[in-house]
Symmetry: D2
Subunit: 391 residues, 4 copies
């Protein structure tokens, strides 16, 4: 790599810019994960993380990436051959589908066009048709990181309720947790999956599973052969502040700090900030004459914006140019939109001026890329942000 002065702009939709407070916390000596000092830490973070998921039930923390939490969600309550309903919202819902299939689960996919969230009506319709209760779980990605579409988790709960179907409700909040309002208990989610490297502002390496009483009950007698991803021992030992196998201690130091930071800012302020940055970004995109991949206004993501490049343009060439010229990493197009879109992450440890820098990098990149009309985006974003700041 050539030398780059100044701070890199890490504007992929995760991993996000880790606050130096969090990095410093991680930079503490590792301690005995069975000693009394760890117990204090363990009880502290295990209580704290519940406030982020808005649950009074256990949240299980695995030393793993978010992918591991997907697996844990499935293997504890499902068996090979069980049917689940997956809602195709983009690349990550597709990956979750593939993961389930690899575990022998019979996945039925409600197809989607990658330009909106999961459709509550279609879910309701499908569940109502499943009189025999063959469908064991409904799986939804809250914020589809590959497209920037948000699914309406509360509305989907309503759809399940209206269909009077016993399926477990599983939600992936890997890229929404701590950036978008989420209520595990109130919204009646059975299993919520998340990861450390997005709204929690940590490096990757921790994954989370929040569970409802019903999910726990099902896991007690059901599930597949499993060991690493088991909930029972975790829940049992977590009650004493420890873990059944060695936890990722230093990342837990960071988690303690990030939970503290989120509450210092106030979760509602965190969510409002993300919403504001999403809106500012979309206004810039519009000004540039480009399209947001997401076409459903009430499902626009406050976490990232996926921008479509004109036909014939190579979004990855644009990304490379921006990385080379302006030292900013943007998200690549994944799966079927590869090369056709780039993604701007505006989540995590972020503020108005970092967003202004980010949008400036995109705007200059578009100009260098030959899109001469891509102007005024930063301007409209600043106007909007200034207006918000005045309010």
């Amino acid at each position: 790599m050539g030398f780059h002065s100044g701070r890199h702009f890490l504007q992929i939709p995760g991993p996000t810019n880790v606050p130096d407070r969090v990095l410093r916390a991680i930079n503490s000596p590792t301690i005995d994960h069975r000693g009394p000092e760890f117990v204090e830490l363990g009880l502290d973070i295990l209580a704290g993380i519940k406030t982020i998921f808005k649950t009074s039930n256990p949240v299980i923390i695995f030393p793993a990436s978010g992918t591991g939490a997907w697996e844990s969600a499935l293997v504890n309550v499902l068996q090979a051959g069980d049917k689940v309903l997956m809602c195709e919202t983009g690349h990550f819902s597709t990956l979750w589908t593939r993961l389930a299939e690899r575990l022998g689960i019979d996945v039925e996919v409600i197809a989607g066009d990658w330009r909106r969230g999961a459709d509550p009506d279609k879910i309701q319709e499908r569940l109502m048709a499943d009189a025999g209760g063959a469908i064991k779980a409904v799986c939804v990605v809250h914020n589809e990181t590959s497209t920037g579409s948000l699914s309406r988790i509360k509305d989907i709960r309503g759809a399940i309720d209206r269909s009077d179907h016993p399926a477990l409700y599983m939600v992936d909040t890997i890229s929404s947790l701590a950036s978008v309002d989420y209520r595990h208990d109130e919204w009646g989610v059975d299993i919520t999956v998340s990861g450390s490297q997005k709204g929690l502002m940590l490096p990757p390496g921790l994954s989370f599973v929040a569970v409802s009483d019903r999910a726990i009950q099902v896991s007690e007698t059901g599930g597949m052969p499993r060991s690493y991803w088991r909930w029972d021992e975790m829940i049992e030992q977590n009650a004493k502040g420890v873990f059944p196998y060695t936890p990722a201690t230093n990342l837990l130091y960071g988690l303690k700090e990030s939970i503290a930071m989120l509450h210092e800012e106030g979760l509602d302020n965190v969510f409002a900030r993300h919403a504001r940055h999403g809106e500012a970004t979309r206004r810039a995109v519009t000004a540039w004459g480009l399209d947001n991949l997401c076409v459903s206004p009430d499902e626009f993501s406050p976490v990232l914006t996926t921008v479509m490049v004109p036909d014939g343009s190579d979004a990855d060439a644009l990304r490379k140019l921006i990385l080379d010229k302006f030292d900013m990493s943007l998200g690549t197009g994944l799966g079927k939109v590869a090369g056709k879109v780039f993604r701007i992450g505006h989540l995590g440890h972020f503020n108005d001026l970092m967003l202004a820098g980010t949008l400036s990098g995109v705007e200059m990149g578009l100009r260098l890329f030959g899109m001469d009309n891509a102007k005024g985006g930063v301007d409209v974003a600043l106007e909007y942000l200034a207006g918000q700041a005045a309010a």
Copy 2:
């Protein structure tokens, strides 16, 4: 916790004292795990870690604790109902057994008394009796962290060879790698499992699986339903310096640094240092009038020493006293030796004076615990260490 001045002595047999160089490396901003800067890092550590396992084959790195590597070793090459031979060497071999059983594997255990390594003769005998080749794998823990006994991996390879049996050979080096000589290729091991928080001097959160060509072949057509722990995608994407799902980037920064440190010291020097510290510790234990749980001199661990307390004494009360009075963490007795032993870790980022401090803490603790004859241990250790330093 009360305030403790000075550095804590973390003398459990892992996690070990993380060098400040490694902590500083981890304390770097997280980067895009799909960008060119990461590719450089990825190729670098994936090549470097091979030199630690002494293999020219792939070493797969999971964002997980060592327990995950155990699971990965099994699910890629075995199926439910397959028989494996586990050698009981202590608590960790027992945990691996339980993990295998949870996955549906039929585990046959060669019982052990927890006071020595796995017995090559018994393994050979059992394999020779298995004319039908029902046993699919032999699983051995190189350094049994709960007892301080080393298994003779090379000799066991010889035993397998002599029995002319096709079983795969799986070895857990979680607490031996980078502390005790280990040769994945030369010793004909098929699957070597390890973790980050011992000899590699990293915080917990990374686990490793080194694989032979034969293990890869078996995995291609065999194995259980699996996703997170798959090797195929890892090997494929690792070739390009990236990972199929988000890696624990910051811990990988630390890994790069720890590999560099191991080579700066020289692996042979690292092993000699651990051997020296094991010998010094055992001399101290003898001087104190206490017994090493391990009774087999050619299987004494250079990594930790497990000390038996006299009948009627509570080893955990002693540990607590030492923690309270001298701010040193020692390892607890696990499983069937709980309360009867304590473990002194002398591995990782360690030196003669840290060992002297460690042994001093134990000696003073024994004295305060009422073992008035527990004297002279530090003295003999210093005499030995001085002699070695003179050489």
Copy 3:
């Protein structure tokens, strides 16, 4: 302080944003400043810092702020009652004047209007009038941090030469070194003063004095009673890699890293980057309809831009608003321009997108402050920066 998400924008003209590489280096254990490991470090940085001053003579490093280097420059070569010529360029030249006066030096000031650099012609004129050689030194601030005007150091050397006057030539490069080209030897400067917290990208706490052979000679027999600020012992002990009294060891770790970073980027690239950011900022200022305090185009500072607010406006109220709303620190007006100007630092560890964020913060702040016409500044800056990036 309320909670602020994201990175603070520290856009005062120093201290500057310290690179995380430098912070990590500083975060290393302190070592024995008389041991062999320190000697390696000492020789390394003492050689390295010469390349930054572009001198083959000694550069003396004090554990002190830049103010200390001012004092060291004076007390080693001047005596109470000696006359020196100071060129008033702004607040810092005035502070240096006051410091000299406090030491009993007879300071004659060539008055200035704070809107340009020191005038070579006036200096020449004054020196030519000093036939008796009463003036012992000419003191110039290279980059006047309070105004954003650069003095033409090479031209002033020419002026001194043309006047054939023996005065020593002293230059303050506290806020220019490593941001603007500077050549201690080639430009015939006798004493160059600098500090750590600007272009060197370090926290404050180190100050520097580069000396010519002639300055050393004068100091050997001249100077005031002095101890801390002496050169002789420093030069003598530095030759062996050590210091006569305890150095600020951890900041020296940072200095080693910052010197390395400057050479990785290439000094000429560093200077070009600062020049580019100065130009972009000035274009924004013009677009906002505001005036640069500096009116002399060939003396515009690439390090900071001092912006005049309209009569009746309180620049500090604007600064406070920007700090509160956008978490950006701008420089206050100092001395006689207090309240009338604010200063935008664009130096040190910086890049195009950080500048874009900075200018965005100013533009939004101006808008919120009621300057409704303050638009388009970011736009013209982006246009310029994009053009430069294309080149």
Copy 4:
């Protein structure tokens, strides 16, 4: 340097082992030293440092090493030609003498043999002989870092009082502050000088001057020409939480943390710990058959112990051997005891096991150095420490 595994033992009597908590604090982004966040920090540390000096008067903090504080103490209240009384206790009192002489002060030295503290009787005798009050100040080093002798500051105050002499009382606590009880106000000291890198557990780079009302009064009309080391502007601006010139911001972060740590432990506990470690060390020295340079039991330093090597031995060769073999830095003999002594620092962030490691390194080093009878020192130290821990 060759590679050394494990932590270096930095057992010079300062700089001391910096706690990782302090290093992490220092590793925070530099902030605007004129902004509101700094003001909070400034007021906090300026109040906190008073509790360490036990004064309700100002304590001035310079970005400088301790040597600078010596200079500040003198130049604010004395004039060239003024007479001061210095008590020769070792190398550092001699350096302070030389510094004063360089500033034109007429220093009268009460000679000492470097084996004890300053003698209150001799001071009283000299002051009583000075009927005309020619002596303007009495200067004493509280803990003479070159010898390990403590001067009885309270008793010397008594001596001055009994002589009814108006001399100012100046004390250097560079290596005693925060390790040995010290009471600026109660003991009637006028000027107390200190530094950051000893008991305050910080890297070098900060120095401190605590002042009495009388010292302030004298400085207001007296003192030498001075600028950097002035008190008046410091006191004035410190009242508002800021500094007249750029402070060493990042070291101030560390200071905040170290003050917090000292109060978490409790100052009396800190002092008792140092006393215990001094006693344990002296017992070891006696067991080795070696002599403490300090011969006055009520003046033994709890901070360091200076050990005399037998005639004909080269203490620096021993130190080099210990550094090479055991990676421990010990203090060299300074001034007239160069080569004849080595110094064991047992101060700062330290505990029983670190001391045990330290003494073990010395004991092994002595053995390797050919002092075959140097045995049993660690043993008696452990016996003592265990006894203390039991109490």
